[in-house]
Each structure stands twice: as C-alpha cells, then as structure tokens.
C-alpha cells in the first residue's frame, strides 16, 4: 500500500535524524512533506503507528471545528497543531477525551453537585445557580494536557489512544474554588483524599465507572476550581458542560468533566482508574508523589512534565537562503513556570535563548520565538528545549513506561535551505 510505503520512508527519515550524518535525504524529505493528517514525523518527532495514521482524519463533532479523529466512540479527538500558534486554545478546537461512551447531554437547570464522604461534616447539594451565587468567583489560565499526550510517538509503541501532540490545550477557566465548596461541608480529622465523579458512564454495568481522587492538599489549593466557563463562554458539551474540575499543573485525568459528586474521604480511592490505570513505574520521573496512593509497586501520574512545541516550522520544509529562520512555539510545565526556551540550529551543539512571550501565569502556555540567522544552501536540524523554574528540562531520549505517559522528547526538525 502506498501510504505504508510512505510511512516506512518517514520512519527511516526520522530514524536518520537521530544522527548528524543524515542531512541529505531528499527523497525522504518529499515523503515528510506529503505527511498525513496529524502525522508527527513532520514535527520532528517519532511517527504514529501506521494503523493510527491510516484511520485518522479531520472530523467536526457538533459544536466543534474539524479536529483529528482518533476514535468515534467514546469520542477522542485531537487538536491540530495550527491552533497552538496562539497561547490560548479556542474552545471549538479544544481536544476531546473520554473513556466511557455514555455521555449525557446535561441541562444546566437539571445539574447538581453533591458533596459528601466519611470525612465530610455534613452532606450538601448545590444547583449551578447556588454555586455561582454562594461562592466567590475564581479564575486561572491553565494547560489541560492528557497524561497520554504523544503516546503514539512511543517506540516501541504501547497500546492506548495513539495521541500525537494535540491532546492538550490552554484556556482561561472560571468558576469557584473547590476548597470553598469543601469548607462549606466541613472537613473531619483523618481526611486524606477528595473523590470526584462525573456524569459519564459505561454502556455496561460491569465496567468500572470513571472516578478519580486527588490528595486533600491538591483539592484545597487556591487554583483548583470547579469551572463553569472556558475562555469567557460556558464549557462546551464535549469539555464537560456545565461544570468540570480544573486542576492546574496536574494531568487531564484529574480534570473530571460534568462533575456530579465530591466526596471527602479517609481512605485511598482504589477503583481501577486509580489503582491500575494512570500509573507510572516509581522513581522514573521527578514529579510530585501522591502519598496516599503508594500501596502498589507503581504510583499515580501527577504533575505535567516540562515540554515545548515548535509551531512555525515543519520537518522537511524548505526556507529561503539568507533569510532568518523563524522559530516560534509554546512551552509549558506543571506549574513551576517556564524559565527559558533555548533553540539549536546545529543538532544541539550550541543553544541560543529564545524571547519569551507575555506571562499568562505559571500554569499557562508560554510563547517563545527566535530568528535563527539566515544561512547558505544546505540543511539544518532545529530543536527547542524548555527548562522550568525548578531547573527541569526536556529529555533527548524517551523515558519509556508501559502506559505511554510524560513524553517530552526534544523535537528535531529537519529544514532545508534553498
């Protein structure tokens, strides 16, 4: 099949970029330029599995722009790279990720939030109007990134939703503080976690419902919100209307959509989605520890690792001789904030600091840009490396893990000067 031949060539092309000796693959260059929808070789990264590439195309869910269809049911749709050329991701282009196919159409007037649990002083129930009326509004700009963003780039591949780079987005979230709602219910001594459940459900009774928990101290942070609005509009249906959890700095798995229930509890939540899924081998990443969930050899994923994405160039692109090469993109992390983004035009032998864009807060995408000086005919490899305020930086080699989380490998974009 033609497409597979193309993929094989792209594979070889990407593999070739691992070494500096590969700067002359004109044939492979053409293949990269003819990349399929949502391919990642054109971003200077490893390519998605053949089958994933062949099965994905742009499709618009009701109320959304055409996004990269990964699966229809449950719906998993990725944001195309062009929407990351601005620091705020438009609601209609924001990625969609569900585990379970039963997604009710919730009416704002019918919705309510129950607060309870063995460590709650009292059980409470709030309508949307009551939440908005009784609590102080709060707002945060924050990246929501799926734990498995870039899973499709893992080599060897691991099963799951084979995401490219677009299972993420940055928005201004507005709602009320989870801690204020919890405080109204009252917290008993011995509380350790807050358990969150949304309205989504599985077609089968036997399937574990998607329920997540947070450490009490993360639930009680000022910036952890029950959000009703995204970028000044009500949440889209596909992103959790009428209310969802927003946990700035932590991966999307904790950002429960269509939030229905908050339980303050004294025991660790051990359903499948906490005890088995969304876990990492211990000690491989320098992310915060979820202390009440350390009853197994592995541990839950927590904060987002530092990462960046070049959005102004595609691998295989030709640029004019003598003209500056514009390197622009976004960088983000789990809340330390971006300290610097450095650009290399020589496969990492030397690095130059890019200018950072406006600071929209430590949980937000941060824009960067740098003009590499114009060059004579030839080829170069462009890389961007983000470092956060904690001194953590992106990796050159993938830290492989069984479920395909935390991919933050530095891009290697091949650019031809003509």
């Amino acid at each position: 099949m033609k497409s597979q031949k193309g993929t094989a060539s792209r594979r070889a092309f990407v593999a070739g970029l691992a070494g500096a000796g590969a700067l002359g693959l004109a044939g492979s260059l053409r293949q990269a330029l003819a990349a399929p929808v949502g391919g990642t070789a054109e971003l200077g990264l490893a390519e998605l599995p053949d089958g994933a590439l062949a099965e994905q195309y742009l499709y618009a869910l009701p109320g959304k722009l055409p996004l990269i269809k990964k699966t229809y049911r449950p719906p998993n749709f990725e944001t195309p790279v062009e929407y990351f050329r601005t620091p705020i991701t438009p609601n209609k282009a924001f990625f969609v990720r569900y585990h379970l196919a039963g997604i009710p159409q919730v009416k704002a007037g019918d919705w309510s939030l129950a607060v309870s649990g063995d460590a709650a002083e009292r059980d409470l129930k709030f309508s949307l109007a009551q939440l908005k009326r009784d609590f102080k509004p709060a707002q945060v700009t924050a990246v929501n990134q799926c734990s498995g963003n870039r899973r499709g780039l893992f080599e060897p591949h691991v099963p799951g939703v084979e995401w490219g780079v677009g299972a993420m987005g940055n928005a201004v979230w507005r709602g009320v503080r989870l801690k204020d709602v919890i405080a109204k219910a009252g917290v008993k001594a011995g509380a350790i976690e807050v358990v969150l459940d949304g309205a989504d459900h599985a077609p089968l009774d036997k399937t574990p419902d998607f329920v997540k928990s947070l450490p009490l101290e993360v639930a009680m942070r000022d910036e952890t919100l029950i959000a009703f609005e995204m970028n000044g509009e009500p949440l889209p249906h596909w992103n959790g209307f009428p209310a969802r959890l927003v946990v700035p700095g932590w991966t999307g798995t904790y950002w429960v959509k269509q939030l229905m229930s908050v339980k303050i509890v004294t025991q660790p939540e051990k359903n499948f989605w906490m005890s088995t899924a969304y876990r990492l081998p211990r000690g491989k990443f320098a992310t915060p520890t979820f202390k009440s969930q350390l009853y197994a050899p592995n541990e839950p994923i927590t904060a987002i690792v530092v990462n960046s994405l070049i959005t102004s160039l595609k691998s295989g692109q030709q640029v004019a001789r003598g003209k500056p090469i514009k390197v622009k993109g976004i960088a983000w992390d789990g809340g330390s904030g971006i300290d610097r983004v450095e650009i290399s035009g020589d496969l990492g032998a030397s690095w130059q600091r890019a200018a950072l864009g406006r600071d929209l807060g430590r949980y937000s995408f941060r824009e960067f840009s740098l003009d590499l000086p114009g060059r004579d005919s030839g080829a170069l490899v462009v890389m961007a490396r983000a470092t956060n305020s904690a001194g953590e930086t992106q990796v050159s080699e993938l830290i492989h893990n069984p479920a395909g989380y935390h991919h933050n490998v530095i891009q290697r974009l091949y650019v031809e000067v003509v």
Binding site: G51, T71, A101, G102, I103, D110, G198, D200, P203, S261
Partner: protein, 96 residues
C-alpha cells in the same frame, strides 16, 4: 454516574457523532464477526489505531483486559478466534 445518566434523556449529541462510526470497517476474514462484539462498548477504530504493533499475545492481553477489567461479555471460547483475527489483520507481522 449511572443514576443521573438514567434520569436524563439520552437522546444526546453523542448519537449523531457516533453514527459516523459505521464508516469504520474492519477487514474481511475469519473471526471478523466475533471481533464485532467489541462494538458493544466502543467503535472499532480502536483496533486500527492500535495497529500494527501488537502480536497475538499482545492482542490476547488486550481482549482479556476488556473481559476481566471492563466486563466485556465475550465468551472465553471466542478469545482465541478474535486474537487470531486481530493478529492476522492488525498485528505486528500480519497481512498488510
């Protein structure tokens, strides 16, 4: 949250998007009918998306996860047939 879901009208916006999934067609071959049991819970593009990098052992593990973790009502005697079909058509060294 099931109780809530049952209470609301389930003529959801999801229905019109999910109708699109009929466009996704699995390759012809022995075992395809058994593999179509998967649609009880998800569209079959999950299969293409996870190809071609699993061998028969990998596909068997995926099917067993669906049965043992997610409660898929797939008879035990069908596991071998489905894994064989997936390995042949969507497997690491299967038919291209």
């Amino acid at each position: 949250m099931r109780s809530f879901a049952a209470a609301v009208v389930l003529v959801s916006a999801t229905t019109c998007a999910f109708a699109q999934e009929s466009k996704v067609v699995l390759k012809e071959g022995p075992g395809r009918d058994k593999a179509m049991q998967c649609i009880a819970c998800h569209s079959v593009d999950y299969i293409q998306m996870n190809s071609r990098f699993l061998d028969k052992t990998g596909w068997t593990a995926s099917i067993n996860k669906m049965i043992n973790v997610f409660g898929a009502p797939i008879p035990k005697e069908d596991v071998e047939t489905i894994a064989g079909y997936l390995a042949q058509h969507y497997g690491k060294s299967g038919q291209k």
